[in-house]
């Protein structure tokens, strides 16, 4: 028998180290099917990357220029499809800014409640998906179960689970149903229980902590220069929330906190979203109280402006009177006559500052609708987070960016 411990030259054992190019996505589960990353790897370290969005581009801005103002609503549903009602609200506020109208109080409260419920659904999806991509499948299923309750709550009100198109220029399609307040209260409570349950699985889990803490650190200055917003910006320690800094609708009347992170890493972004779920619940509770205080006989109880130039007449008038028929026909065929001008209206969307820049030249068709979609900006900053890190860390970093294809590529 010959001895097997032959003498090796150490140099021969070195692995080849020339850089390797790797395509990640678009058909990669962690890239949500819509992003392609071209990576240059040295071993498992990412040397440089080129992020290529655009696989889900559907020409939102071009389509918006080709219909009436109201026909843009269904497209906005499909921007951030995790929180469609927030997009509805953002666009409605932009057009209302051009028109110079304010929605009655009940309509505003309804927008806040639905908006915050949508934000909860959005954050549940993001946190759940991030945990799942790190191998924790149970919290994902629990969070999606909770998201389903929220969507059922929306469904009783809007008739649709996801693509609601519920808000209108000048108000809301329908007033709240009788059971809505009680149902929303119950939903929020049940969702919070699930959030705590999910956190109990993750926040003391060694794998989850090791893979998120200190990974993908985004500094405050970089985040600002990139235009990063929302939970990602707040995770980096910048205290900027549109709901606080420029309160729109009735956000000025409710009491809530803006959580911020310290390190700007993936874990902080996760925790900011988790805490925002609780803050959203607080906003909903208080807003529901305000809804109950509205006197049903007062003009505040209306959900839409009483202006035939903007709102469609009730169906009984459309089918019963000639004025109603003509009014309906003009609004549908020609659209709302928006005076010439331009306005930028911004709200706090699921991922951050959701802005609509609308330009009117007068008449029923928008001249230009530009959407400032927050995750396009967040995704741009992800290049700096990925480079220099490990290949496997792309998954949690990308999860915490919460890239929503519909919104990013428009």
């Amino acid at each position: 028998m010959e001895p097997i411990d032959l003498e090796y030259d150490d140099a021969e054992l070195e692995l080849p180290s020339e850089p390797m190019s790797l395509n990640m996505g678009p058909s990669h589960p962690a890239m949500h099917g819509t992003i392609r990353m071209v990576l240059k790897l040295d071993g498992e370290t990412v040397k440089s990357t080129d992020i290529q969005p655009g696989y889900l581009h559907r020409a939102f801005e071009k389509m918006a220029e080709r219909g009436t103002w109201a026909q843009v609503f269904p497209y906005t549903d499909r921007l951030n499809y995790c929180s469609p009602l927030l997009n509805n609200v953002g666009y409605a506020l932009a057009v209302e800014k051009l028109l110079g109208i304010t929605v009655p109080r009940m309509g505003q409260l309804l927008r806040v409640v639905h908006g915050e419920l949508s934000r909860m659904a959005d954050h549940l999806t993001c946190n759940g998906a991030m945990a799942m991509e790190l191998g924790a499948f149970t919290p994902f299923l629990w969070y999606l179960k909770a998201r389903e309750w929220i969507w059922e709550c929306h469904e009783t009100q809007t008739g649709a689970r996801m693509t609601h198109s519920y808000f209108r220029i000048g108000g809301t399609a329908l007033p709240a149903t009788d059971q809505f307040v009680a149902r929303a209260r119950k939903t929020v409570q049940r969702v919070l229980e699930v959030v705590a349950e999910g956190e109990s699985l993750l926040l003391r889990n060694r794998i989850f902590l090791d893979r998120t803490q200190g990974i993908g650190v985004l500094s405050r200055e970089t985040a600002l220069a990139y235009g990063v917003s929302g939970p990602m910006l707040r995770g980096s320690g910048v205290d900027y929330d549109v709901r606080k800094d420029k309160p729109y609708l009735t956000y000025g009347e409710v009491d809530f906190d803006v959580p911020i992170g310290e390190d700007g890493d993936t874990f902080d972004r996760f925790m900011v979203r988790s805490e925002e779920l609780r803050q959203s619940a607080r906003i909903i509770e208080q807003t529901l109280d305000l809804m109950e205080k509205v006197d049903p006989r007062s003009p505040d109880a209306k959900v839409s402006v009483d202006d035939p130039r903007v709102m469609l007449p009730p169906k009984s008038e459309v089918y019963g009177t000639i004025e109603g028929t003509i009014n309906h026909f003009k609004l549908i065929m020609e659209g709302v006559d928006v005076p010439a001008g331009e306005a930028y209206a911004y709200t706090e969307g699921g991922n951050g500052e959701l802005g609509f820049f609308v330009v009117s030249r007068g008449g029923g068709t928008p001249w230009r609708v530009r959407v400032r979609s927050p995750c396009f900006y967040s995704l741009q900053s992800a290049k700096g987070l990925i480079e220099g890190g490990m290949l496997a860390d792309i998954v949690p970093i990308f999860g915490s960016v919460n890239m929503i294809g519909g919104e990013c590529d428009r």
């Binding site: 850089p19 190019s21 071209v38 240059k40 440089s48 080129d50 290529q52 969005p53 655009g54 581009h57 020409a59 801005e61 071009k62 080709r66 800014k97 051009l98 110079g100 200055e221 970089t222 600002l224 220069a225 990139y226 235009g227 990063v228 910048v238 205290d239 900027y240 800094d245 420029k246 001008g341 331009e342 306005a343 930028y344 911004y346 500052e353 802005g355 820049f357 330009v359 030249r361 001249w367 230009r368 530009r370 400032r372 396009f376 900006y377 741009q380 900053s381 590529d409 428009r410």
Partner: protein, 190 residues
Amino acid sequence: MARIILDRLKERFGADVLETSSQHGDDVAVVTPARWREAAEFVRTDPRCACDYFVDLSAIDCCDNGDPEARFEVYVIAYSVARKHRVRLKVRLPEDNPEVDTLIPVWVGANWMERECFDMFGVRFKGHPDLRRILLYEEFKGHPLRKDYPAQQAQPLVAYREGTYDKLRPFLADEGMPLDRTFKAAQDPD
């Protein structure tokens, strides 16, 4: 309030601020293309403006104003987190060869927005390190958000690309990979 930015801009740039307005509460200043980047730099660094937060950059096709020297309006929105005010700077560009300085040295986030603006409007940004299409693909013909883009126009079908993508040229240039690309015609199923 936020008028301070407009006042400061007028004070500093004088006649190069062509007009200012505050329609619907949005402060807007139109500057000349020559001082576009300088104005942005000023808005960012001036301690009384301090607009360190990059919000948005895009363009409007104003082909209806009848002035081919001012067909495109490129705008940038900046916000100050500390002072809680925002401003919209605009620049007007001619129809033939719309080109303006890049704002990447001011806000690094302008990179993708300028690429998108080039993609959709054909506005070029001088000094941009990587001015490729971003949402559309390289073979796309025309710039779709221009008002004269024929919406029914068919685009070339890119059935199969051989070699590497031209999109990767800046990325792969140092690797000695073949960069010339040839197209195979779409295969006829018969």
